[in-house]
Symmetry: C2
Subunit: 296 residues, 2 copies
């Protein structure tokens, strides 16, 4: 029997989970409709298209959502919650989406004072809680990668880096991209990029050396993307060392990107562990739902 | 009488100067055909379209070109010359374009060992010589801004930063751009960006705070581009201080960008002076032509 319908609704896609009372995932679905693609902001309709058969049933299971669905561009704006924040804090600040037919609960994002200004997350807080790690440093690689310090089950500090987006822009839209072609990951070139990130001159200068490495140092067009990736991720690592100085950290995820992050961490002197990221959001939503009394 | 036809032919445009024996500019023209836009690599044809009436005359004045026209994508590849390099060194390494009807001389670019790898320039070396500054640090702001150390009339060291291109990508193609609209330069926002660049977390983190400054710190959509510009240029200044530690530097140019660079330099503790950049390439080409014996 469905105890919870858990939805991780982000900018570019929507992942839905039908969960049992114990937190087991009974069924999962992925919708292509990220919040930016929902026509006329008809989020209720989009949700029904994806999961009506889970929700419109006599038992009326609770629905809990996290991610950008709770942003100003989403269904309802769930104001950012300050730090420290754990499952109980978040459970105490759920916001109801404006749906006349049923209660749709939305998890607030988090706001912290970062190294250089305010920092925010929406969705990652739920994934972090869902990893079950109650103490340590977590790394969530991605378009905007996040590093979080968790103590006694509460997120006490986090930092965002635009690593993935900067990589993509340099690869796809910059002059550097003209010297590259897509190819399988090249581990030595990635390591070479990591090493280059530790040299002088800062990122704006080092990016130009991706061009000269192609012109003058024999970097092949196939190896270019891996070199660029290593260079940019290496800068993220340098900043993490400066800000959090972790001896070890846990990468949320298991794919190629997570593996590369682990290598970058090792080169930077940070021991890397892994925790599965695939269903972390569902587990986090279940945890919050329990704390909020939505699930027994 | 025309003593020299000087051509600064770059990636996106072509500037031609008809010069007298003393280095005076008698006439100037700008063609829209950057080297990337020349069809079938017919550079001879493009040059004739722009300046046949200067070149195809009985006196047959010498033609000297600089810029990307001497790159592998240009008319003829003029191999990079090592440092230090002044007008005499460059004059001794001119390359002839493959034109059967006349001598077209091309200035080589320069190659240096940068802070993080090899560094290159094509065209800027001629502008630098053309400023007439024989000792000091010069700054050439732009898409790929260059800083050069000149001693006794020779370029002894230089560094490239992708500042302008990174700004443009973040403004036009990134998620940050969605929070901005084009507006007149906002000097306080620019200064705020400069200050932010001096905080912790590195560029990849600080870029994300451009977003949170809009969400949470009242940065307006109009002020966003200036804030972003200050942040990125501030990172260039930090690297320049690390690499060259200049007490003062001369900005080549006089427009709004040069003014902003001067402000950024002042905030970074570098005294700024200006030298006109408009005709520096022409003056530099004349200087090289004299050293090469093309002009008396």
């Amino acid at each position: 029997m469905t105890a919870l319908v858990a939805i991780d609704w982000g900018t570019t896609n929507c992942r839905a989970f039908r969960m049992g009372a114990g937190g087991d995932i009974l069924e999962r679905r992925t919708g292509a409709l990220g919040i930016m693609a929902v026509k006329n902001a008809n989020f209720a309709g989009a949700l029904m298209d994806l999961a009506r058969d889970w929700i419109d049933v006599p038992t009326a299971p609770p629905v809990l959502m996290c991610g950008m669905i709770g942003s100003a561009q989403g269904w309802v704006e769930a104001p950012y919650l300050g730090l420290p924040a754990g499952a109980e804090d978040i459970a105490a600040h759920l916001v109801l989406a404006p749906d006349p037919r049923r209660d749709i609960h939305v998890v607030p994002g988090l706001r912290g004072q970062g190294a250089a200004g305010p920092d925010v997350m929406r969705g990652e807080e739920t994934q972090i809680l869902g990893t079950g790690i109650s103490d340590g440093v977590l790394c969530l690689p991605g378009t905007h990668s996040k590093w979080a310090l968790v103590e006694a089950g509460r997120i006490v500090r986090f930092v965002t880096f635009m690593t993935g987006e900067v990589f993509s822009l340099m690869r796809r839209n910059s002059i550097l991209g003209r010297l590259m072609i897509d190819a399988p990951h090249d581990a030595p070139a990635f390591a070479r990029g990591l090493v280059r990130s530790q040299s002088a001159g800062g990122l704006l200068h080092q990016l130009f050396t991706v061009r000269t490495a192609g012109l003058l140092e024999g970097l092949t067009r196939e190896a270019g993307p891996s070199f660029l990736s290593g260079l940019i991720i290496g800068h993220e690592m340098a900043a993490v060392k400066e800000l959090l100085a972790p001896k070890a950290a846990t990468v949320v995820g298991a794919g190629a990107l997570a593996q590369n992050y682990a290598i970058a961490m090792n080169v930077a002197g940070i021991d890397a562990e892994f925790v599965p990221g695939e269903d972390a959001a569902a587990r986090g939503l279940h945890l919050v739902a329990k704390r909020a009394g939505l699930v027994n």
